[in-house]
C-alpha cells in the first residue's frame, strides 16, 4: 500500500512539507480515503491511485495556493499591525510633542521673537524654526522610538519599523506635496514667483519640517531596528 504522506511530501516539496507537516498529513489523508473509496467500489488499486493523484495536476501551484490561503489575510493584518498602527502611534506622539512645544513656546514668544529676529537675517530661516522646530527635532526621537518599538512588538521587519517611525515626517511631506500640487495647478500671477523660487522655498521648508524630523525619527528608531524580529506565525489550529 502506498505511503500517501511520503507521496505528498515528495510532490509538494521537502521544505514546505517540513514547515507544514499538518498540511501534508491532511492532504495525504484525503487522497488515501479517496483511493480507499474507489477500491471499495471495485476499482483496481493502481487505477484508484492514479485517479487519486490526478486530483492535483500541478503541485507547485497547489503549494502556492495553500501558502496564499494561509498567509494572505495574515499578511494584510500584519501590515496593519506592524506599519499602520505603529505609524499612527508615532504620528500622535510626534504631533503631541509639537503641540506641547507650541503651548510652552507661546508664553515667551513675545520676549524671544525680538531677540531671534535680531539674530536672523535670512529671509527663509524664520523665528518659528528656532522656537519650535529645533526643540521639536530634539524630542522627536521619542516618537520614532515609540513607532518603531510598537512595530517590533507586532513582529515588524526592520523596514516596517523604520517606516512606522517615519510617519510624522511622511505626513508633513504629504501635505507639502498637496500644497505644491495645488500651487502648480492654480498658479500665480505672472512675475510674482518664478519656478526656481518655488523650488527654493519648498527645499527650505522641507529641510526643517521634513528632512530634519525624518533624521531625528530614524535616530529614535535605531535601537529597535537592530532587534531580532519577533516573527509571529499565522493562527493555526492544533
Amino acid at each position: 500500500m502506498r505511503d500517501w504522506e511520503q507521496t505528498v511530501r515528495d510532490r509538494i516539496g521537502a521544505s514546505y512539507a517540513a514547515a507544514h507537516p499538518e498540511v501534508v498529513r491532511e492532504l495525504a489523508g484525503h487522497l488515501e480515503e479517496f483511493c480507499e473509496d474507489l477500491t471499495r467500489r471495485g476499482e483496481p488499486a493502481p487505477e484508484a491511485e492514479r485517479r487519486a493523484l490526478a486530483q492535483v495536476s500541478d503541485w507547485l501551484r497547489l503549494r502556492k495556493n495553500l501558502e496564499r490561503a494561509r498567509e494572505g489575510d495574515f499578511m494584510k493584518n500584519q501590515q496593519i499591525r506592524a506599519v499602520w498602527l505603529p505609524g499612527l502611534l508615532s504620528t500622535i506622539v510626534g504631533f503631541g510633542l509639537l503641540r506641547a512645544i507650541l503651548a510652552i513656546g507661546a508664553l515667551p514668544w513675545w520676549i524671544l521673537q525680538g531677540r531671534v529676529s535680531e539674530l536672523l537675517h535670512q529671509p527663509y530661516l524664520q523665528t518659528e524654526i528656532c522656537l519650535f522646530v529645533i526643540p521639536w527635532v530634539v524630542v522627536l526621537p521619542l516618537a520614532g522610538a515609540a513607532g518603531s518599538f510598537a512595530s517590533w512588538r507586532a513582529g515588524g521587519r526592520p523596514v516596517q519599523r523604520a517606516v512606522a517611525a517615519l510617519f510624522p515626517a511622511l505626513v508633513i511631506a504629504g501635505f507639502v506635496a498637496i500644497g505644491l500640487s495645488m500651487e502648480l495647478v492654480i498658479g500665480r500671477a505672472p512675475g510674482t514667483t518664478r519656478s526656481h523660487d518655488l523650488s527654493a522655498r519648498v527645499l527650505l521648508f522641507t529641510i526643517p519640517w521634513v528632512w530634519l524630523p525624518a533624521i531625528s525619527l530614524l535616530l529614535g528608531s535605531l535601537p529597535f531596528l537592530r532587534l531580532r524580529a519577533l516573527s509571529p506565525q499565522p493562527a493555526r489550529a492544533a
Binding site: 499538518e22 498540511v23 498529513r25 491532511e26 492532504l27 489523508g29 484525503h30 487522497l31 480515503e33 479517496f34 486530483q55 492535483v56 495536476s57 500541478d58 501551484r61 497547489l62 495556493n65 495553500l66 496564499r68 490561503a69 494561509r70 498567509e71 494572505g72 489575510d73 495574515f74 499565522p234 493562527a235 489550529a237 492544533a238
Partner: protein, 112 residues
C-alpha cells in the same frame, strides 16, 4: 478564465462549503463528498480546490479545524462553522439568491 467568472466560482465554492458545515462538522473528504452528493455530481471538489479554500476560510475565522482521531486510529481534521462564519453565511446566501433571481429575469435560467 475571466476574473469575474473566477470570483463567482470562488464565491459559490465558499457558499457550498459553509452551507454543508452549517449542518454539522465534517472533515475535508466528507465535505467534498457531501457537496458532490448534494449537487447531484455537478459540484466537485478535489484536493487542489478544497484545501486552499478551507485554509482561507479558516484564516478569516469563518471555520475552525480540529484534529480528531477516528475509531480506525486515523487522524483527521474536522472543520466546524464558527459564529463569524454563521454570520457571514446569511449575506452570502442572500447575495446569491438575488443574483439567480436577477439572472432568471434576464435569461429565464430557472425554466431552461
Amino acid at each position: 478564465m475571466p476574473r469575474q467568472l473566477l470570483q463567482m466560482k470562488r464565491g459559490s465554492a465558499e457558499l457550498a462549503v459553509l452551507a454543508v458545515l452549517e449542518e454539522e462538522a465534517l472533515h475535508g473528504y466528507e465535505i467534498a463528498k457531501r457537496i458532490e452528493a448534494r449537487s447531484g455530481g455537478q459540484l466537485r471538489f478535489d484536493v487542489a480546490s478544497l484545501y486552499p479554500l478551507l485554509y482561507q476560510l479558516e484564516s478569516r475565522r469563518w471555520v475552525k479545524g480540529r484534529w480528531e482521531e477516528a475509531p480506525s486510529g486515523r487522524k483527521r481534521r474536522r472543520y466546524h462553522l464558527t459564529e463569524q462564519g454563521r454570520r457571514a453565511l446569511a449575506p452570502l446566501r442572500r447575495g446569491w439568491r438575488n443574483f439567480f433571481q436577477a439572472l432568471d429575469l434576464v435569461a429565464g435560467v430557472r425554466g431552461a
